[in-house]
């Protein structure tokens, strides 16, 4: 009997370190025998690095885990430390934290929509190829990203690894003038975001829907950033500190990867689609209006349509930023003192890519004894693998190059965090 043909497809998407392909697919005949989606290294290096550091260093150190979402890491670590210390931010700090998160969502979502995802839908190999024929679209994306960065600069001191953020608040609270300087840009950004929803809503999407367990924060009064309970569309409703009781990471035999699962051992899904499904009513009116105009329901279960949902979140982030700025009254001080008695604390905040969970154990000496960080992309790993398997199965008759391209596009639905990977370049010189 003839052995079915075996194919190996390696998508070297994220990491260019030898042998570390991001997607490995083994096919025998018309059956997928193995599919492994490997992101870059999980933040394990940072977990070890944090041990022995002072608790106040956690935001600065963890910010370096992600170049696109440093604020998310800072916020999750800060909230965990404040839980140990038993402090709550002042009302002003609470709003400023939401504002800085708006900036991060804007820059991250804009980058993804325009430079990473849009080229797929328009049939371009990359933003570079797209820029030749759609320079305006690329420029708009860059301008939106720049506006998000400006918010981070004004609040955080700089856009890459903001330095103004600390346990207890901010080293320096912005003045009214500081924030007012952002208004014009954010007004433009809001309009551009609404247009982005319209444009994204008209793209061609494959028919592909799944029954996800959507997990996100939920807060009764606001679309979530920093605070709330962890809920799912299947009835989960727990406090942030209960994350370890309802989710777990398991070592995968064949690689070093850790897979996150629910307590029942099943995959789950975090990110814009999860927030949208769980918290739709809490979006701003403009965001909801734009979503409806684009034909979205209150739940979107097609991962390809995440581009539209990210655009809706862009509208919300602009609205929310403008609201916070308009209501802002500079506080007498940017932060409160934090006394660290030692203990265990948890933080879960909504990074652009989804729920980002931190847990720390701090000693009475105020030094970190243990750290556990679970990124949104690693929480999505199993769902992504399931999706890719389902997506690939009917497309197996494509040749390897075509299939690889389809799968690369599918991976981009999840906006996996690329900035943590080594980006250096493999150099090939062709002499003619």
């Amino acid at each position: 009997m003839q052995r079915p043909e075996a194919r190996r497809i390696n998508v070297d998407y994220l990491a260019r370190v030898e042998g570390e392909g991001a997607l490995r697919l083994e096919v025998e005949g018309d059956v997928i025998t193995d599919l492994e989606f490997r992101i870059f290294e999980p933040p394990r290096y940072f977990e070890a690095f944090l041990v022995g550091r002072h608790f106040t260093e956690a935001p600065d150190i963890t910010a370096r885990i992600c170049g696109i979402c440093p604020v998310a890491y800072q916020m999750s670590s800060i909230h965990a430390m404040e839980m140990i210390a038993g402090v709550k931010p002042t009302a002003a700090v609470r709003e400023l934290r939401r504002l800085i998160y708006c900036g991060e969502w804007i820059e991250s979502h804009a980058l993804h929509i325009y430079l990473l995802h849009a080229p797929d839908f328009l049939g371009y190999e990359s933003a570079i190829h797209m820029a030749g024929q759609h320079p305006e679209a690329v420029r708009n994306g860059l301008r939106l990203k720049k506006i998000g960065n400006r918010v981070l600069e004004v609040l955080g001191g700089r856009a890459v690894h903001p330095i103004n953020v600390k346990v207890g608040g901010f080293y320096r609270a912005p003045t009214r003038e500081d924030l007012d300087s952002l208004i014009d840009d954010l007004e433009w950004a809001k309009q551009a975001s609404i247009e982005t929803v319209t444009w994204a809503g008209e793209l061609d999407f494959p028919e592909f829907e799944r029954d996800y367990e959507f997990v996100s924060l939920y807060h009764p009064d606001e679309y979530p950033f920093n605070e709330g309970r962890i809920i799912s569309n299947r009835g989960l409703d727990v406090a942030v500190e209960e994350w370890p009781d309802h989710f777990r990471e398991e070592h995968v035999e064949r690689s070093n990867a850790l897979h996150a699962r629910t307590g029942e051992g099943t995959p789950y899904f975090v990110g814009p689609l999860a927030r949208y499904a769980n918290c739709f009513d809490l979006l701003s009116d403009s965001a909801k209006g734009a979503a409806r105009e684009a034909g979205l329901g209150t739940v979107v279960a097609n991962p390809f349509k995440s581009i539209v949902v990210r655009a809706v979140e862009l509208v919300f982030a602009c609205d929310e930023a403008l609201r916070i700025i308009r209501d802002y009254e500079p506080p007498p001080t940017g932060s409160i003192d934090v006394r660290m008695p030692g203990g265990v604390g948890h933080g879960a905040t909504e990074a652009p890519r989804g729920l980002l969970y931190h847990r720390y154990e701090v000693g009475e000496d105020e030094l970190i004894a243990e750290a556990h960080i679970v990124s949104p992309t690693s929480q999505n790993q199993l769902s992504i693998e399931d999706d890719l398997r389902l997506y690939a199965e009917p497309r197996l008759e494509l040749d390897d190059d075509a299939l690889q391209w389809e799968l690369e596009q599918a991976i981009r639905n999840y906006d996996p965090c690329i900035s943590c990977a080594t980006h250096f370049l493999d150099l090939t010189i062709v002499r003619s």
């Binding site: 070297d12 933003a127 890459v160 900035s419 150099l427 090939t428």
Partner: protein
Amino acid sequence: MSRLVVGFGNVLRHDDGAGPLLIERLGSPWAMAAGDGAVEMVEHMAAFDEVVLVDAVRSGAPVGMIHRFTDGQVYPRSWGGSSHSIGLVEVVELARALGTLPGHISVYGIEVQDTSSGSGLSPQVEAAVDLLVEELAHA
């Protein structure tokens, strides 16, 4: 002639930090770490007559070798793996497509060895960085 120097890389991946470390030693305010901060460069470089871009590369050449592509020489477009990551190639080509690429561009690739997690450069890479800092400081 006004000049912008951009260093690409991740300082927490050993030799991949060559670019940012070069910038730090050069004393230029324009240092881009890995991640997409580099995208800002696309429009920012329009204000300069010349742009110099520095990155870590792996081509099999001896560690510490500096690949130079100065004015007039075409740097390898094959640099850059995924077409959707934002690195040196994407920044240059986006700028070219949008008309913001300065008339003078130079690209330097420092051949690296260790890009595992951690900080610090291999000695040959560090030597290459210092050499390039000297050259650029006096250019």
